[in-house]
């Protein structure tokens, strides 16, 4: 037992204060269907009537003069507070847009671009790209 004591102390230092956290904002963005949108044909009014307008929150998408953006924000955090009496915090977090839908409109109010991407934090993949060139 005495020989194992330092290992137990070490383990207590490192395991106590281990935290794994996940933050997700707007998971429902995954369920939005944009397959019916046709650039050059579909109008902003039709997008609003069928999908609605995206929520506007700083850094998380929203409405601008010529675009709508819906985002699913995903953040993973790992924290370790290791120590006794003096406890430094080691923390690493990564946040990304797990799902990102961008719909752009031209001056006439018709859709000019639909761009939809998914990301796992390391790689990005386009799941939909429809463009109407001028």
């Amino acid at each position: 037992m005495v020989r194992r004591l330092p290992i137990i102390i070490l383990a207590a230092f490192f395991l106590d204060g281990c935290k794994i956290a996940r933050d997700q904002v707007n998971i429902h963005v995954r369920d939005i269907d944009t397959s019916w949108i046709e650039p050059g044909v579909t109008t902003r009014r039709q997008v609003i009537d069928r999908i609605g307008m995206p929520p506007t929150a700083k850094g998380l998408g929203g409405v601008t003069a010529d675009a709508f953006r819906w985002t699913l924000y995903d953040k993973r955090t790992g924290t370790l507070e290791a120590g006794y009496i003096v406890t430094p915090t080691f923390e690493l977090s990564r946040a990304h847009f797990a799902e990102d839908i961008l719909v752009r409109f031209d001056e006439s109010g018709k859709v000019s671009l639909v761009s939809r991407t998914v990301s796992d934090g390391k790689n990005v993949r386009i799941t939909e790209w429809k463009e109407c060139r001028k």
Binding site: L15, C18, A21, V63
Partner: protein, 135 residues
């Protein structure tokens, strides 16, 4: 009789201690930003007759943002709801936070400033989730 009473007391104490022991690592938290009941107040707005200046009386709040444009003036009222759930074990803590943000949009004519349309977002339900892994 006294023995049965003793047994029930002991059983009751074990249950109470057991419940506290099971719940002792649990964490629930809620954060709300702005008031989602602005959506309920917005149902009394009459498109075609309500003026923008009357909105503060009806909704009791100022808009989060205002976007003037050539074909419409757009006002937005943003609110959010967050549920934080965690399991705090001795060695490690697991936590998950789920948030929904929504915006009530009000479209008005850029010249007359009369409300044209009110876009009410659907009601969304949030789950309590503590496990940080998976979708």
């Amino acid at each position: 009789m006294a023995q049965m009473k003793n047994m029930f007391c002991r059983f009751g104490m074990i249950c109470i201690v057991g419940v506290f022991a099971l719940l002792s690592g649990c964490m629930w938290g809620r954060v709300k930003v702005n008031d989602p009941s602005v959506v309920d107040s917005a149902r009394s707005i009459k498109p075609g007759s309500t003026h923008i200046s009357e909105l503060e009386n009806i909704l009791k709040v100022q808009p989060t943002f205002r976007m003037p444009g050539k074909d419409m003036t757009l006002l937005g009222y943003t609110y959010s709801d967050t549920k934080n759930n965690g399991l705090m074990l001795i060695a490690v803590n697991f936590m998950r936070s789920t948030t929904v943000t929504d915006t009530l949009y009000i479209e008005a004519d850029p010249v007359t400033q009369i409300v044209r349309k009110v876009h009410i977002p659907p009601k969304r339900t949030l789950e309590w989730r503590f496990w940080p892994f998976g979708d």
